[in-house]
Symmetry: C2
Subunit: 471 residues, 2 copies
């Protein structure tokens, strides 16, 4: 079934049923994505103000077989938000639907429209004395609808789960233009198939999320942050088990940092205060959020003593103030920027079963070394089994020098991940970047089921064509 | 499309490709369900020993258009496990696939086959020093495949979530007989549509779950249990907020108990030790699971003091021993049995937004009183907004005396629940009992999407026909 472009005739038809204020000529940002891999196209840009306008737009697109690309904050890293190929689409940006529709502190529930910026959702929760725990680098720009459509991860997953785990209900426009009113505030509702989780993570290919009921959490009574030097990744994982045994789910973040990352940071962002004079080969950034009655510095000091005794750490720093906590986090948060300045040959957002991480790091280094002279910066959410495994040129060379090896490096790393029961997209999604990876590594029975679901809900294939599944 | 019975000819064909040991003549238990509402039928009973045998069975059924009813522990309360109507089905019991395939304590992961009994999964986790937190009355009989297919709830949902939240991956046989190998041990994997959550809660209508990767948790360092007398349901909810503010997610259970329930218990099961000499109108059973460094009795005593000061409680008991903890739980766990002995006119497994519970209880009592003289026992997982709202005859009358009012009572309660943004099946599912309720109260757009998904994945409609969706 062929699709038609969102041409002048289609634009004119839209204007018959929707007010002029909905439309705007597209600024460049709607046609770009953060990594600069693709240039998008746009036939018509619409900025609807309510779900009925979204419904009218999609209904018209369905009737005309015009592709629809939903647009959130534009921070996605896999090109899910732009259409570089095929007929020029109708871009539906949710940015005007950014209201917090309600906060229910007693229920630990907040209802936000899809265009609400993640940081604003966090703030609204905080103002109600609650925590919305989704937290990621792009939170000042990313919008909650996009976070849900991509099942965003970040640093709070260990304790609180992915975006999927933080959603109770959705309002969405399905590919035929009809509105699903599913903004449930219920914790338990076993009445039929889980349409919510089908739309979450579908990257806009099964409909447009327009609002969501989100789970809030109690704010921890006290928080603490520490950096422990660990001899190797095995010790990092054993340290996590030790921390869990003592503090349970109060361990709210557990991030692996490689010496290579600290070195990149020192070389490229010397203004970021480093925790150690000499970069250790491996260290772990840990955060705990504790109930009333426990002192975080004491709990972390006790954990350090126990870890020292078991040989799981040799040195550690426990933040004594909010400023120190911010400093520790600043190290972790600036590593991606330092990486960008060095310029990766290939970067990988992968996960493997947690107990296999040390083996993966060992074998990954061998695989990469077998392809040439490279440096690896491997860091990330080790408590979730999710590593950002990034491959860089050796000093004095640039990524341009390795342009012809990018594919080989990526393939070799992904093959290893797949062989080890891992995922080649742990948190960023498939978008347009990893469609081939999904075809190569995905379970064929599951892929067929995905295609059948897509055809059932979007028979004309108008919703974000080319993302996740081949158009 | 008409289905064919699992008749002798079909049985003979099955025996050509599967060993005789797979088949057995059906005992009555496969044709009964706990509430005795329906009598099931059976053409062929198969007890496959591995996923390949399940696949062969479903493949044959798909070719012959024979209905397939998956069977777990048989404890479901909505008739999802039996086929009282239509052609006699092939019943596929998973009971022989009951192995724990692997335990990965470092990863907090366990892989169980669908036929593993829930209590055995809990035990395997405990033996590895971990917690599998799904806990419900039928845990000694229910099997994990059924728990997942119905997205079971229970007493641990407040802290740990439903069955859905405890599953990382599935192995399943889809309606065409093909095997989806999805036993991922990953915490993060954003590669395409969430087929896992689609099968979870589908009550066997989209395929047969044959094994699952389950999430384990650290065992809390110490646990405590208390019963607080509260003046009313408003206070119960405010008490939960207070507990959350002080102890965070360490609050692991929060159950409302009505005086009516304690009275039924005293009258029908006098051997169960009661916490108070005189049954209070409302009380709350609370459990906390704390990290190292906190004493549960102290934390609960502090909470009691704070609650007393805010007028949220007037009396309380904090368990001082494991025996006392067991006694407290025994009260909660025997209420359903006492209810059965009294004999409910109508029982309802409902949820409403947590902050609306007091209003629901008030209005529910009015609605029921408007229909005649009844007693209400309202109890359950108030922390999840999930109440078991059960309506009983007045003393000296029996449920038989109200046989002609059952429908009216149920309808009135469900109408109220729906009006208040609630669910008429919070944790038990739809099965065959609530198909009409789903049609009446379900969002029509979502229902159409469900039907489209069912038709896409099971075009012949062989999988558990008549459950969830009308056959």
């Amino acid at each position: 079934m062929t699709l038609n472009p969102a041409d002048d005739a289609f634009a004119a038809r839209l204007r018959q049923s929707l007010p002029e204020a909905v439309f705007r000529s597209p600024e460049p940002r709607y046609l770009e994505e953060p990594r600069g891999r693709w240039a998008g196209q746009c036939g018509v840009l619409a900025l609807p103000r309510d779900v009925d306008e979204v419904s009218a737009l999609v209904t018209a697109a369905a009737a005309a077989r015009v592709p629809v690309v939903p647009y959130g904050g534009g921070t996605g890293l896999v090109g899910g938000q732009i259409a570089p190929e095929g007929p020029a689409p109708l871009i539906v940006s949710l940015e005007r639907m950014n209201a917090i529709r309600g906060v229910y502190p007693t229920e630990n529930v907040l209802i936000a429209e899809a265009g609400a910026i993640l940081a604003e959702v966090q703030l609204a929760a905080r103002e109600a004395g609650r925590l919305f725990p989704l937290s990621l680098a792009a939170e000042g720009t990313a919008r909650i609808g996009g976070n849900l459509s991509t099942n965003a991860g970040g640093t709070g997953v260990l304790r609180y789960g992915n975006a999927r785990d933080l959603c109770l209900g959705l309002e969405a426009v399905l590919p035929d233009g009809r509105i699903w009113h599913g903004l449930s505030r219920l914790r338990k509702d076993n009445t039929g198939y889980d349409l919510r989780d089908l739309l979450i993570g579908a990257e806009g290919t099964l409909g447009i999320i327009t609002a969501a009921t989100l789970k809030l959490y109690p704010q921890p009574a006290a928080q603490g942050t520490a950096i422990f030097v660990v001899p190797d990744p095995e010790a990092a994982i054993a340290l996590l088990s030790l921390a869990h045994a003592r503090l349970g789910e109060a361990v709210s973040a557990f991030e692996l940092i490689a010496g290579q990352g600290l070195t990149f940071l020192a070389e490229n962002l010397p203004e970021v205060r480093q925790p150690f004079d000499q970069a250790p080969e491996w260290c772990v950034l840990m955060e705990v959020g504790l109930p009333r009655g426990l002192d975080p510095e004491e709990a972390l000091a006790d954990l350090f003593e126990a870890a020292l005794e078991e040989g799981l750490t040799s040195d550690g720093l426990i933040a004594q103030s909010q400023a120190q906590r911010d400093d520790f986090w600043s190290v972790r948060e600036h590593i991606p920027e330092a990486n960008r300045r060095v310029g990766a040959v290939s970067s990988h957002d992968i996960s493997v079963p947690i107990s296999r991480i040390p083996e993966f790091i060992r074998r990954g280094d061998q695989v990469v070394a077998g392809l040439g002279g490279f440096r690896v910066n491997c860091f990330g959410h080790i408590g979730d089994g999710n590593l950002h495994y990034n491959v860089f040129p050796e000093p004095g060379r640039s990524k341009a020098d390795h342009a012809n090896q990018v594919g080989a490096v990526k393939r070799a790393v992904h093959d290893l991940v797949h062989e080890m029961g891992g995922s080649v997209s742990a948190e960023h999604g498939i978008g347009r970047l990893k469609v081939e990876d999904l075809e190569r590594y995905g379970d064929p029975v599951r892929l067929d089921a995905m295609r059948a679901i897509k055809a059932a809900l979007d028979p004309a294939g108008i919703m974000n064509p080319g993302a996740v599944l081949r158009a």
